[in-house]
Amino acid sequence: MTGSLLNEVRAGYRPLGSSIYSSGTNGYWSCLTKKESDWLSDALKTMDSRDAILKIRPDLFDVIFSEQRSVGLELLELSGNEICIDYGCMWGALTIPLAKRCRYVLGIDQTLDSLIFLRARIKENNLQNVELLCENLKNVPVFQSKADIAIVNGVLEWIPEEGDIELSEYYGKRQTRHYEGNPCGKQVSFLRMVCDNLKGSGKLYLAIENRYDFKQFFGVKDPHVGIRFVSILPRFLSDIISKVQLRRPYVNWLYSFNALKALLHNAGFNTVELYATFPHYSFPQAIVPYSLGLRHHTPTVKRRVGRIVERILFSYLKLRYFAPSIIALAMK
């Protein structure tokens, strides 16, 4: 089974050195600028991935290497026999821990530089069961061979985006961009492909910020575009604000718990379990089943005011609807 998925990748894509396959139409989405990515690639020739990141962008060290990030995978009840596809794997924050515990992992990302970095990590960890595919996530085909696990971690909101993104030049910066189609439609199409690539008993692990994250109501900037209130306002208003401030429409759509559930049903998933996640899905301190509600919530944000607000909203009022992030486990 592992072989057949790999064979399909081999048949459909050309190899770029060991472990990486590509369609030849690379894109770019990264927290690093293209220049920093080049420096990182150069650094990897003389040092290991940890030292390279510490040299180029030490602020990203935990984002890439922290073991805290992968704790949500425990919800998947992995047996060690699974074939997994990590959509938008980037530097492998989940790919590496997943590969240590599963039979085979296919990491897919459109940014070749990220995959080259991830390949270095794979070698350092001596992992033989990971292959990487450089491909735009919207163009990933439906494979004949199906996976047991699909990971969509912090990816869904970026699916409607078009073209290259250097985050430092994108977040809160004016950049004229044009899009075709409805963001939600693109997200559903992507999730349908993910669903079609899963076995009947397969599971999707999806993590995304909550549209109605309580911080958004207090004027904290949207984590994707850097404008206040855009995620909670009606979409057409967010669109207007974004066009005025950033010269581009607002396409990084987030969802509430109920809307995300509906979206996943719409994409072909029959069973959806939702989890309220604090303070963020990247570094979760608490993951609470949405259906069971909040019990003994301890504030997780660092700022004092935030802690007071969190205590009122979640410890006393138990308003799980305003949790910062959502993790969804979906089955066909």
Binding site: E67, Q68, S70, V71, G72, E74, L75, P97, K100, R101, E273, F283, P284, Q285, A286, I287, V288, P289, S291, L292
Partner: protein, 271 residues
């Protein structure tokens, strides 16, 4: 359904989940994916095995244990223990019944241990004691170490950690609290197992032991001193408390006044 309640908190490299069946908590799951965390899980398992073999309690606690250092992964699933427990921040007097029962329990469990090379719980706090059907159950064996410490360390640590919350409130503990501590130490030394230094300077000795053996607690003691209130006593406080305790222990009958029934100290527990 699983609920994450703690993730790499306070320098501790493990994630803790509750396994829920609706409202009811079935088990506690501890998971590690780092070298230090995996070692913590191994210690927890070793600690439970050691403890259950000595405590005469017919408990089946460890449901599942997976130790795979080659995959950077370990987990232990522990049965949820229903019971009641105290609140450490209420100090010695309001936890006196729990402390006394635990010292008695310590004497039973740690009897016949080598005084110089004694096994150690490493985090014996009121928070890690559950009263189940009137019996003490010590939980959270993440810092267990076999044959490393001096006999009595855990019990002294428990007493002084609780006393620290009295000292925090009043600057220095009051006479009634010191009397209660002296009485607990006297009970602990029933079989004359404490060393002369432990008796003469119990707090300074406990504090010194932690500082000289930091490696037993890994990076937790470095990253979060507040997890070790005993170390937070100033030298002046420790000197005063030791002096007072030495006076109280030096002979005359200890009268600690009215002791509240243990039931008044207990709250709904979670292990």
């Amino acid at each position: 359904m699983k609920e994450l309640i703690r993730n790499h908190f306070g320098g501790n490299d493990i994630a803790v989940f509750l396994e829920r069946d609706g409202e009811c908590v079935k088990s506690v799951l501890k998971v590690a994916t780092t070298k230090e965390g995996i070692e913590t899980i191994r210690r927890e398992k070793q600690g439970w095995d050691w403890y259950l073999s000595r405590s005469n309690q017919q408990l089946q606690i460890v449901n599942r244990y997976l130790y795979e250092p080659e995959k950077c992964y370990a987990k232990i699933e522990l049965k949820y223990i229903d019971g009641a427990k105290g609140k450490y921040w209420r100090g010695v007097r309001k936890n006196y019944g729990i402390l006394q029962s635990t010292v008695e329990h310590y004497l039973k469990v740690w009897q016949n241990e080598d005084v110089e090379n004694c096994s150690m719980h490493g985090d014996l706090s009121v928070d890690n004691i559950i009263i189940r059907n009137g019996q003490v159950v010590i939980v959270d064996w993440e810092h267990f170490n076999k044959n490393v410490g001096q006999w009595g360390f855990d019990a002294l640590y428990l007493i002084f950690e609780t006393l620290w919350f009295d000292a925090k409130k009043h600057g220095l503990p009051r006479q009634a609290e010191l009397l209660a501590v002296a009485n607990l130490i006297k009970t602990l030394n029933r079989d004359n197992n404490l060393s002369s230094l432990q008796l003469e300077q119990p707090l300074s000795w406990t504090k010194k032991f932690i500082l000289e053996n930091r490696k037993l607690w890994g990076k937790e003691v470095e990253s979060s001193f507040t997890k070790f209130p005993v170390v937070s006593f100033t030298d002046e406080q420790a000197l005063y408390i030791d002096k007072k305790l030495a006076e109280l222990l030096s002979g005359r009958e200890l009268c600690i006044g009215r002791v509240r029934p243990i039931e008044t100290e207990l709250f709904t527990a979670s292990s």
